[in-house]
Subunit: 239 residues, 2 copies
């Protein structure tokens, strides 16, 4: 049985301040928790329904819970059989830019967009993301869930973008409204692609660093594309 | 002041059954409501904060409400200044397939995905969507909101897909896991693109109608792409 304190403690991890203080986050779902168990992330505790008990749990602390208990610690409307408290990872190395496309996120706010962008990046083989300090935190529970596991393969650094971009000497692509068409942009061997905030695009102190302003040409009437969709389309043309 | 009955009536339109019975739906937000007012949709009633009163309201019934009243009839966590009850439209004509790409949705379930797909379609100039009968209803409030206005320009027909596809003699593209690469697929002058359900893809009774099975080649490790993102990527290569 879970103690009241343990329930409270897990619930507290749905708040950013507490997550940062504890260096932990929550991942939910049978598939996702098993992926974390098989990864190099350190899983602190697994909470699982009896029938979903992982086979290769090793020496990870594992507690059998009831459906009601799982509900009490879950952040999902419909808890999915298993939940884990996992240790956050900060990349131990700096990003490498040779023969790679690196994604830079400038103020992505929506956790669903952030998670979807990690999933898209992973689909296109991008393993490095640099996020501005005001981009949503990757260990936000909605980000973790919407990455569908891609959070495990992707390294994310939070940086002051103007300072970071000053040091970059490879092509810097930026998704803007009046750039060159992505349909005629040659695929770069290495480069950086900057995606801006959902409402305001790339911020004014980042814009001057763009060496290749690019655009998805509009044929119809929609005012804009969702940031994650735009990321997917651009990557499909640049990678 | 709004009567209890009026509040209840608007709230009832957040249920599909009631929406179908009344032939009405709710749209929220200053920008979106003004777009509906300027469109050929029939707006029944506008509920607005005093300061947002539309200028060109014509003879549309308009009620000034307080923030608390707006909250009581809104489906959003943060109501955005204005709400309208609007009459549903069923396309009065049948789809036309000459010199056009038409999108076919086979069982899209998530309202956010559905709305985003309408927005993407509109970006790429696609004005016709055929949806299977089990696809989420376009007048679902979350669909309406996430189309960001693109619901106005797009005609959506709900049809029995196998019966509909039997009559089609132009190329039928289907997004599947093991098709030809979208990077080498020639752009069609006219055709149909089928996007399947988020989890299960295109259904078994629709698959046989595909004449061109296509795929977004995967470079990295993500298991799948979000249905809306996949739609955006494919359209950017086919249109």
């Amino acid at each position: 049985m879970l103690s009241k304190n343990e329930v409270k403690y897990i619930q507290s991890l749905y708040h950013k301040k507490q997550r940062i203080q504890e260096g932990l986050f929550v991942a939910e779902g049978i598939k996702l928790v098993n992926e974390f168990l098989a990864s190099n992330f350190i899983v602190h505790t697994v909470y699982t329904l009896q029938e979903n008990m992982p086979i290769n749990i090793g020496d990870v602390n594992c507690k059998i819970v009831t459906q009601t208990e799982l509900q009490s610690i879950s952040n999902l409307q419909t808890p999915n059989g298993m939940l884990a408290v996992v240790q956050q990872q900060t990349p131990s190395t700096q990003p490498v830019f040779t023969n790679k496309l690196t994604l830079v996120l400038d103020g992505i706010q929506d956790p669903g967009n952030m998670g979807t962008i990690l999933r898209i990046a992973n689909w296109f083989g991008i393993t490095q993301i640099i996020a501005s300090n005001n981009t949503v935190e990757i260990y936000n529970p909605k980000v973790v869930q919407s990455t569908m596991g891609s959070i495990i393969q992707t390294k994310v650094w939070y940086k002051d973008l103007p300072i970071f971009l000053q040091s970059i000497s490879i092509p810097i692509y930026g998704a803007v409204l009046n750039g060159a068409s992505i349909y005629t942009t040659p695929k770069p061997k290495e480069g950086i692609l900057i995606i801006g905030n959902e409402g305001n695009g790339i911020s004014n102190d980042v814009l001057p660093f763009i060496t290749h302003a690019i655009t998805i040409p509009k044929i119809g009437e929609a005012e804009s594309l969702n940031a994650a969709v735009a990321t997917g389309i651009i990557l499909s043309h640049l990678v």
